[in-house]
């Protein structure tokens, strides 16, 4: 009836994931509202390597439900390897990732795209749990400090990334500049196309030479046969 081989582990994993995701979603009111809109629409994620199927849907309370067994109708079924799913999860443009990636999609893709956008847009409001735990004043102060720290770490991270890139290309000459790299890729592409064209021309010439040789051989055979016939007649 079901192809689950280790139901306890499978169910425990899904229960833990569901609890963690819902805990995060509870702090993101926008995502909860989005999930409520998708209530009852079940999406099947069928992973081929490792073999694992997960059914997910939102419910009326704005919570995510994960199941290992479901025998009702699904609006979307996606099949692929774990790498393909990871690529889709990271994609900035999920529609393009679905079309160009290695995933097979059956059914309506809009629910899946809505879910992916919803998770990418999770914006956790730390103030709510802090205020309810610590009170209005202390909770707000701590949340403001956390927001400032988060914003500072994001800015610092992005600055560090930019400076490292500049050092690697300009100062240390450890990596080529992006423009030079793009030019190099263009040259490689042009060379590859020229190589293909040359190979096609060589093949064309080879066929032409072979046809010429074949015609010459046939003419020589015909000439030989007529000489023998004449000699026979004379004798």
């Amino acid at each position: 009836m079901s192809d689950i081989h280790r139901p306890t582990l499978h169910t425990a994993g899904l229960a833990a994931a569901e609890a963690a995701i819902n805990a995060a979603l509870r702090l993101s009111p926008h995502s909860k509202a989005g999930l409520r809109e998708l209530a009852g629409q079940v999406v099947a994620l069928e992973c081929t390597r490792p073999a694992l199927t997960v059914y997910l849907n939102g419910d009326e309370n704005g919570e995510l439900c994960l199941r290992g067994v479901y025998d009702g109708d699904v609006v979307t079924r996606i099949t692929g390897s774990l790498d393909d799913f990871a690529e889709l999860a990271r994609a900035e443009d999920p529609a393009a990732a679905l079309i160009n990636g290695g995933l097979r999609l059956d059914g309506n893709s809009s629910t899946l795209i809505a879910l992916q956008r919803l998770f990418n847009a999770v914006d956790v409001d730390w103030e709510a749990p802090l205020v309810s735990g610590l009170g209005d004043v202390a909770g707000h102060q701590l949340a403001s400090m956390l927001r400032a720290a988060f914003s500072w770490s994001q800015q610092t991270g992005s600055n560090l990334q930019r400076q490292l890139r500049e050092f690697a290309t300009e100062e240390g000459r450890l990596a080529p500049p992006p423009l030079a790299l793009e030019r190099f890729y263009d040259d490689v592409q042009t060379l590859s196309e020229r190589g293909e064209r040359l190979a096609a021309r060589v093949e064309q010439l080879r066929q032409r030479v072979e046809a010429r040789f074949e015609a010459m051989g046939k003419a020589r055979d015909d000439a030989g046969r007529s000489t023998i016939a004449e000699t026979w007649k004379a004798s």
Binding site: M1, P7, T11, A15, G68, Y70, G72
Partner: protein, 250 residues
Amino acid sequence: MADDNTTHFGYKEVRTEEKARLVGDVFDSVAARYDIMNDLMSAGIHRIWKRFTIELSGVRRGNRILDIAGGTGDLAARFAPLVGDEGEVVLADINASMLRVGRDRLTDRGVPGNLFYVQADAQCLPFPDDHFDCVTIAFGLRNVTDKDRALRSMLRVLKPGGRVLVLEFSKPRNPLLSRAYDAYSFAVLPFMGRLVARDSDSYQYLAESIRVHPDQDTLRGMMEDAGFTRCDYHDMTGGIVAVHRGVKPA
């Protein structure tokens, strides 16, 4: 059963009419601390077993569910939001103490009002024929005096095409696990029972009743004999627990 007039109560042979009272005494004694003992004894894994049982049930909005031996209402609490306002969940238990604890607990948790409580014997369910979409019994069948009669009663109240799910302790497949499980059941469980529920005898009965309960294949055969079709089971935690599923023929 040893003969027509006796049955098992753990490892003891008792008169058939006595078993219900003896089982009733056990659950009267443990009702107040039933949930905490379940969490302690299974390290919380009983929640995973029940969650998988619910997934297998395939319950939808508007369905009518009967949870027999529902005790403190773990399954019923999960079924209630699944069937919604249009559906109905009946929590049935033969034991009034367990039913009372379950009702208080679910009321305190604000579980939806589509839930009904009925004190009923699994062997002669007081419901009309072809009434429920799904019938579940979790860790209850082994306490029933006449299991075949209970299975036939469940078949009767199910709608054609409806499912029965029997979640019950079973037989571990691995001999090493089986030995460790025996040691745990007969040494640790009664000790825990004495410590937490102040009642080691009831937990001694629990360990014994699991050993005399039919194994996976025997129970499947009993379900088929009762009239269920498409009977199957899933072992969980190495076979310590199994969930059996059967369908009432259309």
